[in-house]
Amino acid sequence: MSSAVRTEGSDAPVAVDRGLWMYGVVPAGLTPPGAVGVDGEPIEVVRAGEVAAVVSWMSLDRPPGRKAELLAYHGVLDVLARNGPVAPVRFGTVMADREAVVEFLEVQEGELAEVLALLEGRRQFNLRATYVEDAVLAEIVTLDPEIRDLHERTRDLPEDASYPDRVRLGELVVRGLEQRGAEDAALLLDTVLPRVVEHVDRTASNPSVVLDVALLVDESQGDELVHALEGLAEAVHERIRLELVGPMAPYDFAGAF
């Protein structure tokens, strides 16, 4: 915790060493439920026109980016998302004072209101599909003659004797994974996309990850999506594992402007 002096009960910054931590933007008409934010400070609402920012005071005199801040930020947004539409502000954003927050809201009011309208009644889910590595590697080694040859040639040799062949083998395997990944991802999306409003690709360049997408889903479609994914997960389970996280705040659908 910070060693800076806190002024309990006061809204105004007493010195430049305090700032307003930004969690997200909500409709001005919506009163968020109480929640405790970073440093245990209560969240507050700063309104401007149709939109409002959810903030809490924090000391700037401290090392940034700690675990407690991440969890507090995530926790507050979780509470806000369950209460109504919220557009998360990027983690770590701190404003000098209320005037700065109001200025930001006023300048962006139109876009923010549009985003909130898009998010109304909708939640985010993250879907990740990962290969069952041994099953898919077996496919690749079995079906590609060059890979099979390299595999047979390198498996019983000492590591340094077969280095170039092992690099080549791995390169071909990764290529095979990526090619299958693109095809399997397209097939999975055939089932997913009709049931979502929007999606954003989150795929990291990990060859074993088939698909990693954020999905914006109508609350009324949530059960149907889960049901469809359960069927899909069963159908592909020997090759691909499906993992669904959510519902959560729409982190991937707020930063587009």
Binding site: L70, L143, V167, Q179, L232, A233
Partner: protein
């Protein structure tokens, strides 16, 4: 990859894993580089989390990656002691596909099995749709 522990959790079919994000890594994975970016001139600071995450997510196609997958294939033990032989593996894959409810995925399995070569279109894996937002994270956070 050891995801087995969570595989059978959840409702209904039980194959769809539904973990609740709880640990630090899960939360970072969800929030990193997301959300509204506020211009530097109005904000005090964008508190950096690079230190926490710089190595957390990026797996690049490097020699190390290749060697990891080369080793993974060597662990397969396709031909001896305890490992299934190739026809068994292929048979299992076909069975898995045919029992499923979802036609698209089944076709995927069959198509994958029907293919003799896997290194045509070698760059397909990289041509997935680009990230729609948050492409400016390094420049944004280093201002």
């Amino acid at each position: 990859m050891t995801v087995q522990s969570t595989q059978r959790r959840g409702d209904g079919g039980g194959y769809l894993s539904r973990p609740a994000p709880s640990g630090l890594a899960d939360v970072i994975e969800i929030i990193l580089d997301k959300g509204i970016v506020i211009d530097a001139y109005v904000r005090v600071s964008l508190v950096g989390i690079e230190l926490l995450t710089i190595d957390a997510r990026i797996v690049i196609a490097s020699v190390d990656t290749y060697l990891r997958f080369a080793e993974a294939t060597n662990r397969l033990d396709l031909y001896e002691k305890g490992g299934k032989d190739l026809t068994e593996v292929v048979g299992d894959l076909q069975k898995g596909g045919a029992s499923g409810k979802t036609e698209g995925a089944v076709q995927g399995v069959k198509r994958a099995l029907g293919r003799g070569h896997s290194d045509d279109d070698e760059d397909e894996g990289q041509s997935r749709p680009a990230k729609k937002s948050a492409s400016s994270r390094r420049s944004e956070s280093s201002r």
